[in-house]
Symmetry: C2
């Protein structure tokens, strides 16, 4: 009997992504000897064509973004990446070249971040592509960063820059002119999981999460988890040159950058006296961090202050699927 | 800020499925202390509405089948179930009652099989529902059943009955009259992962896999993995009373039962002198097993002999997505 299509597809495109324990993707499941003395950290995120990425996004970046949004969850826990499983539902007739480029993107980022495929499934769908990834990482027992733990008086920090992802989506959808360097579109397509920073913040940050649904909305999660409020200072928001130029042209953009999604930066709380420890961790990780506010006694609400100091109401742009 | 829809949906329907390490589904990832002295076994399978299940299948059985097809992969490796992660892509407007029933099915089978949710993701899709599950299990180091290992002369065994799933699909699609007890449709919707048998076969079976794409096609995988051929005796195929009645009405059905999919039985090789050990393992697991052929010196091809003893060509019905 010949090998039917899906087995050939897996052999052609995905077997090269497999690593230790994957049994060459030829068995019913993978076998993994857990790293001794570590806890496992596990998360799963799915992306859907036309919802989480644009149908004409390059397939390389679709694969890399799928992996990176999952790696960002590990970063938020302070975990080191280990391996992943993936299920891929594709329309019949998806060009072989699309799948090859998707797999090449995964291979490139797999090498960059030190993760390989353990297993998965390839199926057809009459709808848009639906790609799901389960990431595994490790942390020393008890060392994982958690969303709970922020206290009133703690400083609120964020890594990198905020708003590029939301602006990049607007550029790709033709709602905003592109920046000359293509920085914004690139940041939408290729978020940067802050793994080195997450690991360096173990024992430093009191609470952490990654910013995926919009800074203000995600800060609300940190507040509810800690039973504290927070004040977010819009003027302190770290902006890339491209985002700063866009906000200079249209000042109404600034509050929307705190509400947009797709940042995949780390948002974290640290004791007020620990600014030096935070900056040393950031320097060691090679990742810029910025203090953008502080936590307050409850209720768990987010107050946003504008560049003139008064309270600002944010647009409700944080992404929700339902 | 209020909680947007997806967080409410997770709280209403999926939080009750969470267990140890899931951090109440409120963090970026789960934390799992791996069971000491065991290896992890991991697999991921996805199901798509209209491809792997019928749009009018009861949502309870959709959830249970999603979990069971993954548990069947653990059974094939001789692994004991531990926990799972799940991503759920649903059309906007999916009725809350559908999601509640889907989650209730998962809860029921989670209790029955001793697994809980560690984490996941809930997203919207403009296409059909696309449900992906990653299952975790454990085995003693070195004890996992593998597809490799069958030798010429080994006996070929299968658990349970074959063909019910494919017949059940035909019944639900109106291509075959239903049996009085509804056995066939039930077997299509609710496969039985042979976990107890898989665990009992550790150290007994030389090679094993689960039958999901059709007995003959999957036997081909065992042959290629072992570098051996196999002879499958159609007359020995274990049939349920409902399948036997259908085959008696239409003898042309018999070869198609060996080619259809959705059986989720265990197919395994054992040394010719180990029939007693196989039967004791099956008795201990409470799962019937039947000897249906034997392995031969290569090439890795499957020969099917019919009830009259001659070679039979099977229809190419084994499921392939591409």
């Amino acid at each position: 009997m010949g090998l039917p299509g899906e087995f050939g597809l897996i052999a052609r495109h995905f077997r090269a992504l497999a690593g230790e324990g994957a049994l060459d993707l030829s068995d019913d499941a993978a076998i993994l000897a857990p790293p001794p003395g570590r806890n496992l950290v596990l998360a799963a995120d799915a992306v859907v064509e036309g919802v989480h990425y644009l149908p004409d996004d390059p397939p390389e970046t679709v694969g890399r973004k799928l992996l990176r949004v999952n790696l960002s969850d590990l970063a938020a826990m302070g975990a080191d990446p280990l391996a992943y499983l993936m299920t891929v539902a594709l329309p019949r007739g998806t060009p072989d070249a699309w799948i090859a480029a998707f797999a090449a993107g995964l291979a490139e980022d797999g090498r960059a971040f030190g993760v390989h495929v353990l297993g998965g499934d390839t199926v057809s769908t009459p709808g848009p592509a639906c790609l799901s990834l389960t990431i595994l990482g490790t942390v020393p027992p008890g060392a994982a960063l958690r969303r709970t733990g922020a206290r009133a008086g703690d400083a609120l920090w964020v890594s990198g820059t905020i708003g590029d992802g939301a602006l990049g989506l607007a550029v790709l959808q033709g709602r905003l002119p592109p920046d000359a360097e293509g920085h914004l579109a690139r940041r939408y397509r290729l978020p940067e999981p802050r793994l080195a920073l997450g690991a360096a913040l173990r024992g430093v940050a009191r609470a952490a999460m990654d910013v995926s649904d919009g800074l203000a909305q995600d800060l609300g999660h940190l507040c509810r988890a800690g039973g504290v409020g927070a004040t977010l200072d819009l003027a302190a928001l770290p902006l890339s040159p491209a985002a700063a130029a866009a906000a200079a042209r249209d000042p109404a953009l600034l509050p929307r950058l705190a509400a947009g999604g797709d940042d995949y930066e780390l948002l974290f709380a640290a004791a007020p006296g620990d600014a030096g420890r935070v900056r040393r961790a950031a320097r060691a990780a090679g990742t810029p961090v910025t203090r953008i506010g502080h936590f307050t006694p409850g209720p768990p609400e987010v107050t946003v202050t504008g560049p003139e100091g008064g309270a600002v109401n944010l647009p409700r742009e944080g992404w929700s699927h339902f």
